[in-house]
Amino acid sequence: MNKSESPIISVKGVTKRFGSFTALQDISLDIRPGEIFALLGPSGCGKSTLLRIIAGLETATEGSVAIDGQDMTGIPANKRPVNMVFQSYAVFPHMSVADNVAYGLKLERRPAAEIREKVAEALAQVHLSDFAHRKPDQLSGGQRQRVALARALVKRPKVLLLDEPLSALDAKLRDAMRLELVKLQESVGVSFVIVTHDQSEALAMADRIAVLKDGVLRQLDSPAALYKRPVDRFVADFIGSINMFAVSGQRAEGGQARLETAELGAIAVPSDHLPAAGQGALTLAVRPERVKVGAEAPKEAQGEGGLVSVVGRLGDVAFQGNSSIVEVLLEGGGSLSALVSEAEADHLMQAESGSPITAWWALDDMLILPENATAA
């Protein structure tokens, strides 16, 4: 039996309403054993609510959650085989670090020797062995988080749920903790479900990401797929940075569609490039690293799709170390940014701000996105 075939958590049609407010709208997703799964979205998108429904701290208005094949409807939080790391860590202040970690095992009435052994093991796992007898108020934020991690992991949960695990840490510690969490997940092997509003965090850590907006699941994919093939304007905008041009008019012409934009003028694209599903106005989008800049676009179209080129004036050049972001002010109003190499940036710095410049990109690199891919 291949374990990765059957999901460890299966969320089916979960809807959550608070009075007239719908926090989650018909969410269905599967979490595979041993993966890091991120619930990503802006604040208020319902991602934490979904996590709390999985944990049993909140009940779904409709739909069901199954953990390891067992339906969890009606099973309270204290009887579910998942454990959670809270945003505030919620470390018990009146207990020592070791007692915090032991608490869950004591509730299970395990023998004292076994508890001691497991607590020592868990503390070693999070590098807190020397702090076992400290009280939480003698620990730093990062250490307190590791207490919360050890306390949850010592219960050997089938899935570890983490609510904004890095948001309370300072920037430097956050980067270190990202790596540490990934390593920890690899060593314990259980699935992690991480709620975060920080796309870079999700991209760096997760095997798969579910992007939520206003309680609706917009896209569920691997980080690379989300970045390269976002299904709609919101996902494209939320993940990484991207240049976007609103399409104001659209006309079919044989096998092609002519898309009107204020900034780029009319652009002809093959009809099969248009999104199949979704509603709302279309948006043309291109990642800054796909945009080339120079005095003139190459004459011959490379690849099959051809090129899109636009003339503008040179704006600011923002130095970023090994690369720079070049701002191109467009004739039709607005601007776009291009990511250029260090050498190119040096060259561009010579030119005067406001001098004419051309930006171009391959038609195949341009995304044509609906406003919302999920709405009917």
Partner: protein
């Protein structure tokens, strides 16, 4: 011989200003001088307690106070009332505080107001109403009830006025409780009762201690309400002292009062030690 220049006083350096030091000094004298005098004159070898002339050191009035059976009985009555009423007031107060903090229910603001009403009602009104209540409902405890059941009326009265204080102190403490702590405990497998015992109760502990301390001292020195609810055979320390003063002020009263002060200080000290032991600060 240039002396190093004194630094100017900082914004919170109040103790550096002579005028403020003087105010502090006068305030302290106003508050504590009578108590100090009371304690000193409990050792005065004079027949009259009100005598302000020092006639030599003696501890005979302490002996006398200890051998004054009526005074000792009143003293023990007061302590028993204070202990029992504090215990019940803190339990009731804690339950009330948890209900007010945790749940939403119809007429909650009314209930909340009613709980704190005894704090603002004049003591004399409470005394009269309790006295009328006990007599009209025939609730006066028979005189031959064994100790401490003979004190039931007074204990009930003391619980009535001290429990709102305990409830408010505990309620305030609960405000600082992080609800995620409760959820974390549940997530780790705790039942509602285990959450209460292992997480909420330890958090409430400083509030419980402070509430108990407040209730204890309120009960120990209450005069007005006790006066209305005590029978001729159930005399408390403040009432006994009052009746003794009406005959004559003797150093015996000073001695008994000094012991009372000592007990109060001891209880306060123990409570503070207990709290600092519970929550080591760094």
């Amino acid at each position: 011989m240039a002396r190093e220049k004194r630094e100017p006083a900082g914004p919170f350096d109040y103790s550096r200003k002579l005028s403020l030091r003087l105010v502090f000094f006068l305030g302290s004298i106003f508050l504590y001088a009578p108590i100090v005098v009371l304690v000193i004159f409990s050792f005065n070898n004079s027949r009259r307690g009100g005598n302000v002339i020092w006639k030599g050191f003696t501890t005979k009035y302490y002996e006398k106070a200890f051998h004054n059976d009526a005074l000792m009985e009143a003293f023990i009555n007061s302590l028993a009332i204070a202990f029992i009423s504090t215990l019940i007031a803190v339990i009731l107060g804690a339950l009330t505080a948890v209900v007010l903090w945790r749940f939403r229910f119809p007429l909650k603001p009314v209930f909340e107001g009613m709980v704190s009403l005894p704090i603002v009602i004049p003591e004399i009104c409470m005394g009269v109403s309790l006295a009328v209540f006990f007599s009209s409902f025939g609730l006066y405890v028979p005189r031959d009830m064994p100790f401490p059941l003979n004190l039931t009326n007074i204990i009930i009265a003391h619980i009535t006025f001290s429990f709102p204080f305990a409830a408010m102190v505990i309620r305030t403490r609960l405000n600082s409780f992080n609800r995620e702590m409760e959820e974390a405990a549940k997530d780790l497998g705790a039942t509602e009762f285990q959450v209460f015992r292992d997480i909420l109760l330890p958090h409430m502990k400083p509030g419980l201690v402070a509430g108990a301390l407040l209730a204890f001292t309120l009960s120990l020195d209450d005069f007005v309400i006790t006066f209305f609810t005590s029978g001729p055979n159930t005399v408390t320390f403040p009432i006994k002292v009052y009746s003794m003063v009406r005959f004559s002020v003797t150093p015996e009263i000073n001695a008994a009062s000094t012991i009372l002060i000592l007990i109060t200080l001891l209880v306060t000290f123990l409570a503070m030690r207990f709290q600092s032991f519970e929550e080591p600060r760094q």
